[in-house]
């Protein structure tokens, strides 16, 4: 039977069929759905970990116990998990361990465009790269086989277009794989220098054997279609090239992108007149070819930046461009915005009003950086808000301490904010940290986290109290406000920025998109009272627009949160809560 599967769903199906028992991940677009789909199989223990390092370590531990185990993350998540990754290459595995890492060329939903293949090279690990959903499933199964045969974690590289496209998949039954026996073996698992020195030798020897395998593995496929154009490629780029050239070119499709074959490429090169390497992001295959004296055309014509498409290839290789039409008007962009009723909105309005320096972080609240709120100064990586604010304040002294805040979401605080907070308290800057607790991991589409009271499978779990954590690490001033209440929020921000010690404000209000959240009746504008002062436009609410010269509120999207009515000095915004 064949069905349409999202690439990520097919990865999860592969886990099920391969007999995988343990999955631990942290969400991140475009990898998130893998773990959500895996959680639907009763045979798989699946969990959200607080961050990617923890997730990978859980998978490694389960592998040591003898279970086939897995962890998924987005490309930047592998930075967080890099520490265990590099040493797991030395320890190897017992039950197979597979790690999926999803790159995001074009940065549809990411803060940078790094190429994860560098990690496979640096950590000396095999990496497979599927090109469609069927391959997502098949390669997962192959990866577990390789992991156990070569005693190594195996990386699977995905990309947005593979993860988030649906294509046909043939499904099979689950393999019955027993737990392997754990045998104590400190020389292999205790990485002190004396043992690690020996293991490094094993790693290099394993890489040579894997490189030999790459020459003959069916994962690397040659498709002959004439001798004029040859294309070496992998993953989604293969699909783009195939769409342009069909069977009028020859392809070397690399399913294994680390280690790369040499002789296979040399032989392929001899069969064609002109040889191209088509790879998104960095020039990894190309560099390998050139290092081995194989003449290819790659980044001379293709960009290191952004994602490709069939149009990129047609244009760069053939000089072809399709005809099209366009309107001769200036089309306003439509950037994502905080939703109507978003609990983050009120806080950013107050921060903008007080012209605070805002050390930002990653989550829905990063939208506070966009106009009209424009209330964010920096966004680096998850957790950086608190630590970078401490640095900013240490360098700037009292002047900056009294005018700066850090903003961080509940999930991000659990991910890597706690350590920054400990640093602030321990080293004593008078920083003000605002934790935006909307009771969910919003940005990636509503995943539970340690503060929400539920686990990935939807069962009740221990709730980690943010206020108790802050107090436990030594913050004495911890206060909680409702961000719909602008007055209380403003008071808290003003007082805590002035405080002579580290302080935390928790703005607490569940995400308006959560199913259990009940809305107030929508607000309306009394057109006789509205003087078009535009004060209500300053919060950037998508429900408010201008109609016939006056403010107007869209009744279908308004949640009645009442933030706008608190800004109206003419009482022109009416209804909502009072009517309930």
């Amino acid at each position: 039977m064949s069905k349409l599967f999202l690439g990520n769903e097919a990865v999860a199906r592969g886990l099920y069929e391969a007999g995988c028992r343990v999955v631990s991940s942290y969400p991140g677009t475009p990898s998130t759905e893998i773990t959500e789909f895996a959680a639907k199989y009763d045979e798989i223990y699946a969990e959200w970990a607080p961050n990617e390092k923890v997730a990978l370590e859980v998978a490694l531990g389960a592998g040591i116990k003898g279970a086939r185990s897995f962890s998924a993350m987005k490309h930047v998540g592998l930075n967080v998990a890099a520490d265990p990754l590099f040493t797991a290459s030395y320890t190897g595995v017992n039950g197979g361990v597979v790690i999926a890492v999803a790159d995001d060329p074009g940065m549809h939903s990411s803060q940078n465009e790094q190429d994860s293949r560098h990690y496979a090279i640096a950590a000396k690990l095999p990496m497979l790269e599927p090109a469609d959903s069927q391959e997502c499933k098949d390669y997962i199964k192959e990866a577990f086989e390789l992991s156990e045969e070569f005693d190594t974690p195996v990386l699977i590289r995905l990309s947005t277009r593979v993860s988030h496209s649906q294509s046909k998949v043939e499904i099979c039954d689950r393999q019955q794989i027993e737990l392997k026996e754990y045998v104590k073996n400190p020389q292999k698992y205790v990485m002190v220098p004396a043992n690690a020195r020996n293991r490094h030798v094993v790693v290099e020897e394993r890489q040579s054997r894997l490189a030999e395998l790459a020459e003959t593995s069916p994962l690397n496929k040659v498709e002959i279609g004439g001798d004029s154009i040859g294309i070496i490629t992998s993953g989604i780029s293969y699909q783009y090239a195939k769409e342009v050239f069909g069977d009028k070119a020859s392809y070397l499709k690399l399913g294994m992108v680390n280690p790369l074959p040499t002789k296979l490429i040399e032989d392929f090169a001899k069969k064609v007149d002109k040889l191209y390497v088509v790879e998104e992001l960095d020039d990894i295959i190309e560099t390998h070819c050139k290092k081995n004296g194989i003449n290819v055309l790659g980044k001379e014509i293709f960009s290191l930046i952004g994602e490709f498409s069939q149009a990129t290839i047609a244009e760069k290789i053939l000089g072809d461009k399709r005809e099209n039409v366009a309107l001769d008007v200036n089309i306003p962009v439509r950037p994502p915005v905080m939703c109507a009723g978003c609990p983050h909105r009120g806080l950013f309005y107050i921060l903008a009003k007080h012209k605070a320096y805002v050390s930002g972080d990653i989550g829905c609240y990063t939208l506070g950086a966009a106009p009209p709120l424009s209330a964010m100064d920096t966004t680096i990586c998850m957790g950086a808000s608190i630590s970078a604010q401490h640095g900013y304040n240490v360098a700037g002294g009292e002047d900056t301490e009294k005018k700066s805040v850090a903003v961080i979401g509940d999930s991000t605080f659990m991910h890597s904010g706690v350590t920054g907070l400990i640093n602030t308290v321990y080293n004593g800057s008078n920083s003000t940290i605002i934790i935006l607790d909307n009771s969910i991991t919003g940005m990636t589409g509503h995943q539970h986290n340690p503060t929400t009271g539920y686990n990935l499978k939807g069962d009740i779990a221990q709730t980690i109290s943010i206020e108790a954590v802050c107090k436990a690490v030594g913050v004495r001033r911890v206060r909680i406000v409702d961000p719909y209440d602008l007055k209380a929020t403003e008071e808290a921000v003003v007082e805590e920025m002035a405080a002579e010690e580290p302080s935390v404000i928790i703005t607490r209000r569940p995400c308006a998109l959560l199913k259990y959240v009940e809305y107030n009746p929508p607000l309306t504008v009394d057109r006789d009272k509205c003087i078009t002062c535009r004060a209500c436009f300053r919060i950037g609410c998508p429900s408010i627009s201008m109609k016939d010269g006056k403010a107007s509120i869209d009744a279908t999207s308004c949640t009645g949160c009442g933030v706008c009515s608190q800004l109206c000095r003419f009482d022109a915004i009416v209804g909502g809560k009072e009517n309930v």
Partner: protein, 194 residues
């Protein structure tokens, strides 16, 4: 390859383009085509522009994405998104658009204007366009959320598959409690195209 047929669905986050693309994908799969559906996740719930691609073929579909000048059909859930997606339409392709207008943030803040008369301007470019107030029809069917299914109803008249096949795909994809609203929305959509 020339035998690949490309459809684009464009709209605003929250309008239900994903569900529509899944209904369409199921219809095509049931007819034995090779199919690829490409979705964009992540920011899609946050009111930004969203684009999904549906491609199918008697042979094989390779790339899941649609690029400039390639779309045989574009289904726009909102006027501005119709205008934005126009360069993707193939010469001789068809544009189905909802006449609903949703102001993006630069228009709300007053930084830019919502362009006037988009539909007539597109017509002047000799584009085959069908413009329908799908929001009105969806509300008539019982829910403003059924805009996506109204548009699928129109599409079903243009594509060469029997009504029953669409109905089945609809049943498989919409929540049980919303079936009767969606069936109504689908029929209202079909009646728009003569």
């Amino acid at each position: 390859m020339s035998n690949v047929f490309s459809i684009m669905l464009v709209g605003v986050g929250g309008q239900g383009t994903l569900l529509a693309s899944r209904i369409l994908g199921d219809v095509l799969l049931s007819q034995g085509y090779d199919v690829k559906v490409s979705e964009v996740h992540g920011m899609s719930q946050r009111g930004g522009s969203v684009v999904t691609y549906v491609k199918y073929s008697n042979g094989e579909v390779y790339s899941p994405v649609v690029t400039e000048g390639e779309a045989d059909i574009i289904i726009a859930f909102e006027q501005l998104e119709a205008a934005r997606s126009l360069p993707m339409l193939k010469k001789g392709g068809k544009l189905i658009t909802n006449t609903q207008k949703i102001s993006p943030m630069p228009v709300i803040t007053g930084a830019m204007n919502y362009p006037d008369d988009i539909i007539n301007q597109i017509k002047e470019l000799d584009v085959d366009i069908i413009a329908v107030d799908a929001l009105k029809l969806a509300i008539e069917a019982g829910s403003s959320k059924a805009v996506n299914v109204v548009l699928m109803g129109i599409l079903s008249k243009i594509m060469p598959f029997e009504e029953k096949i669409w109905q089945d795909a609809l049943l498989d994809n919409v929540p049980k409690k919303a079936i009767s609203i969606n069936e109504k929305a689908f029929i209202l959509g079909r009646e728009q195209y003569k």
